[in-house]
């Protein structure tokens, strides 16, 4: 069962979430929807972000591939210019750097798409984004829905609907 509570003041969302967590609801089953970022109990997001790791990996891979590619081209068709060595670390280092950074950017973009769940089908309907209200959504077994709704109402919810908001 899915419960969605509407709060007309975003400051009420954090205590509501805290109350739910205290009552033993799983962090995974709770989600808050807001038009702008709101302060929430940190334990809601206990999973560490992998964005920086992904960025570093993708940077290393892209920079490595770029460097390997440059050396391949210089062996594939070796041309002497200005008495420079064919493998000029100094000269190609700039390109290695730029493409390493390009890899980091790509990694970050992928990390965002993945961790924010963008471009993916939704399992549950989300409340329509609204400029004024904050929504707290709880996913819980049917027998727990009554206490959950009670908690939310006590936390100051203006309205609690079951089965999610209408799309």
């Amino acid at each position: 069962m899915v419960l969605t509570a509407r709060f007309d003041d975003e400051a009420l969302a954090a205590p509501a979430v805290a109350a739910l967590l205290d009552a033993g609801f799983e962090p995974r089953s709770i989600e808050v929807f807001s038009p702008r970022p709101v302060e929430l109990p940190p334990r809601l997001h206990s999973r560490r972000s992998r964005a920086s790791l992904l960025a570093v990996l993708s940077a290393a891979v892209n920079g490595g591939l770029a460097t390997a590619f440059m050396f391949y081209t210089q062996h594939d068709y070796p041309i002497v210019t200005g008495g420079m060595p064919l493998r000029s670390w100094w000269a190609t280092g700039v390109i290695t750097y730029e493409l390493t950074m390009a890899g980091a950017v790509a990694g970050l973009m992928i990390a965002l798409l993945w961790e924010a769940g963008l471009l993916r089908r939704r399992r549950l309907p989300a409340p329509v984004p609204d400029n004024n209200s904050v929504f707290v959504r709880v996913e819980c077994p049917g027998e727990n829905s009554m206490p959950a709704a009670e908690l939310l109402r006590k936390a100051g919810a203006a309205a609690v609907t079951a089965g999610g908001e209408d799309r």
């Binding site: 002497v80 200005g82 008495g83």
Partner: protein, 234 residues
């Protein structure tokens, strides 16, 4: 390196400044030999004339007691050419026999090489070249006509080097000293310009280049030019 191997020539030039009279026959010969575009007076006044070899003048002394000195300047075919590595498309590179080659078909016209040449001997085709009649009739069939938008410069008459090599191969003999003569050297009435193979210690040019009178232009830049200028030691 490959070019150090025996049998690979190192083409070089010696210009004796004490012999040069500044007659500019070399300039004219170069124009005829290498299909240099003729840009017309207005464009030339803008600084767009193309002369692969030019004769620089230097005045010595105070007027009226002046002495005029001449210095023919052409592409110095540097061993450490600053123009080469900056080209993004390898339009200019170093050949095995030490020439600084310009590949017109690769050039896209960034003109970076022209800026990085300390001798200002690189020229750009600002428009498609055109020759007024009857000049168009004397184009050299051995030399490519360059299209608009590409760089060009002295090649040490690479077409003549090629021909001499083919002739020597046909006669099954090695290249001899003096087999190759660029148009400027050929036309110099004072015989101030000598061309030859620096890798052959017996060649005339090796002797001249080793003379105490020999120096190179802007040598301190470390470009290792292969044009030697002979002048009186004062």
């Amino acid at each position: 390196m490959k070019r150090e191997q025996i049998g690979t020539p190192r083409w070089a030039m010696v210009i004796d400044l004490d012999r040069c009279t500044g007659c500019e026959a070399c300039v004219l010969a170069c124009h005829a030999e290498n299909n240099l575009p003729v840009v017309g007076p207005e464009e030339a006044a803008k600084g767009r004339a193309v002369h692969w070899i030019r004769v620089d003048r230097y005045f010595e002394g105070e007027f009226p007691n002046i002495r005029l000195k001449y210095m023919p300047v052409l592409c110095q075919q540097c061993d450490q050419a600053p123009c080469e590595p900056v080209c993004p498309v390898y339009a200019t590179y170093h050949t095995a026999d030490g020439l600084n080659a310009q590949v017109y078909n690769r050039c896209i016209g960034t003109r970076y090489c022209g800026n990085n040449c300390p001798y200002s001997v690189r020229f750009f085709n600002f428009f498609e070249p055109a020759w007024p009649e009857p000049l168009a009739l004397q184009l050299n069939p051995d030399v490519a006509v360059r299209s608009g938008g590409v760089m060009e410069k002295c090649t040490f008459c690479v077409q003549r080097i090629k021909r001499a090599r083919l002739e020597a191969a046909a006669e099954q003999r090695p290249l001899r000293d003096g087999d190759v003569q660029p148009a400027c050297a050929q036309s110099c009435p004072a015989e101030a310009i000598v061309f030859g193979d620096l890798s052959d210690p017996e060649s005339k040019i090796s002797r001249l280049a080793g003379s105490a009178r020999a120096r190179r232009l802007l040598e301190d830049l470390g470009t290792e030019p292969k044009v030697f200028y002979l002048s009186r030691l004062t």
